[in-house]
């Protein structure tokens, strides 16, 4: 692999974004109560540069970095690419790196770990010493974790898991969070810790390098510390926690260590989510007790403000879910041309381009997609042919409206795994993570005669002879039209 020059920490990333014009330094004081959240939300809705808020009310020495990966430009910067790279180029690079050899992390000495510059233990532990923001007015609490990684280790298999489970501050030493039963952590809690009444060690890392955050967000089967290495081209630097055996990113801004109490739950939510709604009800959810906080000098807390498109919750999840599904489908020998989730679908619709090589291929794709570990996160699959540009919504929408047979092309799957965050779901479905799925098969049936049954697309590029097309193109401005870029 050629040398990658991706930002290795949140600080390097902020500098790179500022230099590229993709982040702004806000010097005036910003209130942690709603104001910071409102700035981030507006920046997301305008696709504006990320706000780096250098002065936080009540919290001298701390800063905020909001909307870290809510544009493809910042995603390109995080990968060390030209900010002007196109989405297909970024996707191709992601696939290249994540199909390379795994790169194991390295464990560094605590004295060399920036995240250990300040350590709060015992009675000094108080989450309110951190500038935990009230992200949206009306949220159930101040959210500690909106762009972070919750680090855990499977007690038997030893698998390390970094997951982005939202975490609300309940009191000075308690957080509550949404951990869905189908997630890696949810399964470990249900299968192991709850029956034994044992607590589960955790560490929350905030202010990660952008590629560590990308790894925590990606539904990849590769362990996140190795995935970070593959994405960045060099080993991730980890360090041991103070109060448990977990290893955390040494360059993170803030680390919160503690234990998950599987048999004790406190209220969590509501919270504005990536769907663009507050959907899930306030409920008793997974509880995290905090035993230790470590942080860098002048620590920067990262904030993702989820809501209507588009923020990193939609953009990055759409990106990684689509590419991970593409890898899965290719591994099964399905001749896909690509997979794309439009962020504006709030990662609910998977668009798959495929060469319609045999009957039932769309059903095969949908069953693999919905049946995979990725499946709970979306409920629509649309399959189009290899002549349709999956990145061009006009073409996809045209295919959907004209080729999807209302009676034969829509296939519904009931009683599947869902999430409490589906806005369309009934209260009962939300409570029990029950979902429904739908496939929109936009392929011409393979048993139609290609000459007489399949309609011809009537477009400039499809119905005119090459010489006529070239003549019209070369004379376009001579006809009096402005040049088309």
């Amino acid at each position: 692999m050629s040398k990658i020059s991706a930002p290795k920490s949140n600080r390097e990333f902020i500098e790179a974004c500022v230099k590229a014009g993709d982040a702004v330094r806000i010097k005036q004081e910003v209130d942690w109560e709603n104001e910071a959240g409102a700035i981030v939300r507006r920046a997301c809705e305008l696709a504006a540069p990320a706000p780096f808020m250098e002065k936080i009310k009540d919290y001298p020495g701390f800063s905020y970095f909001g909307a870290p990966l809510s544009t493809y430009r910042r995603m390109a910067i995080s990968l060390g690419m030209d900010p002007a790279s196109s989405l297909p180029e970024i996707g191709k690079e992601y696939l290249k790196r994540t199909n390379s050899e795994p790169i194991a992390p390295v464990l560094i000495d605590k004295k060399d770990a920036p995240c250990k510059e300040n350590i709060l233990m015992g009675k000094d532990v108080d989450l309110c010493k951190l500038p935990v923001p009230l992200v949206h007015d009306g949220d159930g609490g101040r959210y500690v974790g909106t762009w972070h990684a919750v680090v855990t280790k499977h007690p038997v298999r030893g698998d390390v898991n970094w997951g982005m489970y939202r975490q609300m501050m309940f009191d000075s030493r308690t957080m509550s969070g949404a951990v869905f039963p189908f997630s890696d952590l949810g399964k470990a809690l249900t299968e192991y810790y709850l029956p034994r009444g044992e607590s589960c060690p955790f560490a929350t890392a905030i202010g990660l390098s952008p590629l560590a955050a990308m790894a925590a967000c990606a539904p990849s089967p590769i362990p996140e510390p190795e995935l970070v290495g593959m994405l960045s081209g060099e080993p991730a630097r980890l360090v041991k926690c103070e109060t448990n055996d977990l290893e955390v990113p040494a360059d993170a801004e803030i680390i919160i260590e503690g234990e998950i109490c599987p048999d004790y739950k406190v209220e969590e939510g509501p919270f504005g989510e990536y769907t663009g709604y507050r959907t899930s009800p306030r409920d008793f959810r997974v509880t995290f007790r905090v035993n230790c906080i470590t942080y860098r000098n002048n620590a920067t807390m990262t904030i993702s403000n989820m809501g209507v498109p588009q923020d990193e919750g939609q953009l990055l999840r759409s990106f990684s879910l689509g590419l991970e599904l593409e890898k899965l489908l290719r591994s099964q020998g399905i001749p896909v041309t690509g997979v794309y989730m439009h962020p504006r679908s709030t990662h609910h619709m998977m668009i798959v381009g495929v060469k319609p090589a045999y009957a039932g291929i769309a059903q095969q794709i949908a069953q693999l997609a919905f049946g995979s570990k990725l499946g709970p996160w979306f409920h629509m699959v649309m399959v189009v042919d290899d002549q349709t540009d999956i990145f061009n919504w006009d073409e996809v929408y045209h295919a959907f409206c004209t080729r999807c047979h209302p009676a034969n092309g829509i296939h519904i799957y009931k009683n599947t795994t869902g999430t409490p965050l589906y806005p369309y779901a009934t209260p009962h479905e939300r409570k029990y993570s029950i979902g429904s799925k739908v496939l929109f098969d936009c392929l011409w049936p393979v048993d139609w005669d290609k000459t007489n049954d399949v309609p011809t697309v009537v477009s400039f590029k499809n119905v005119y002879p090459k010489d006529i097309q070239e003549k019209v193109l070369s004379n376009w401005t001579a006809y009096g039209y402005p040049e088309v870029k």
Partner: protein, 84 residues
């Protein structure tokens, strides 16, 4: 006077004239604003019945127009001994 806030799915959760248990969060200014306590309390739909005020939000964060008052009788410790 302290200012508190509570989230309810239904206003009937705020039963008057009896001791009830609620998770309430402080709206007092300061670093601990929005942190919760579990309390045994009495509430009233009359804003001046008890010394502390209680603002009410519904399940999705909608602010209720009703202003309650609250008397905190005791803190309730729910955390099991093994986690303290």
């Amino acid at each position: 006077m302290n200012k508190w806030e509570v989230f309810v799915m239904d206003m009937s959760e705020l039963a008057e004239g009896e001791d009830i248990e609620l998770s309430i969060r402080t709206l007092n200014p300061g670093l601990h604003k929005y942190t919760y306590k579990r309390v045994k309390c009495q509430v009233s739909a009359k804003p001046d019945a008890f010394p502390d005020s209680l603002q009410v939000r519904m399940g999705r964060g909608q602010l209720s127009a009703s202003q309650y008052s609250i008397k905190v009788l005791a803190e309730v410790q729910r955390l099991p001994e093994k986690y303290r």
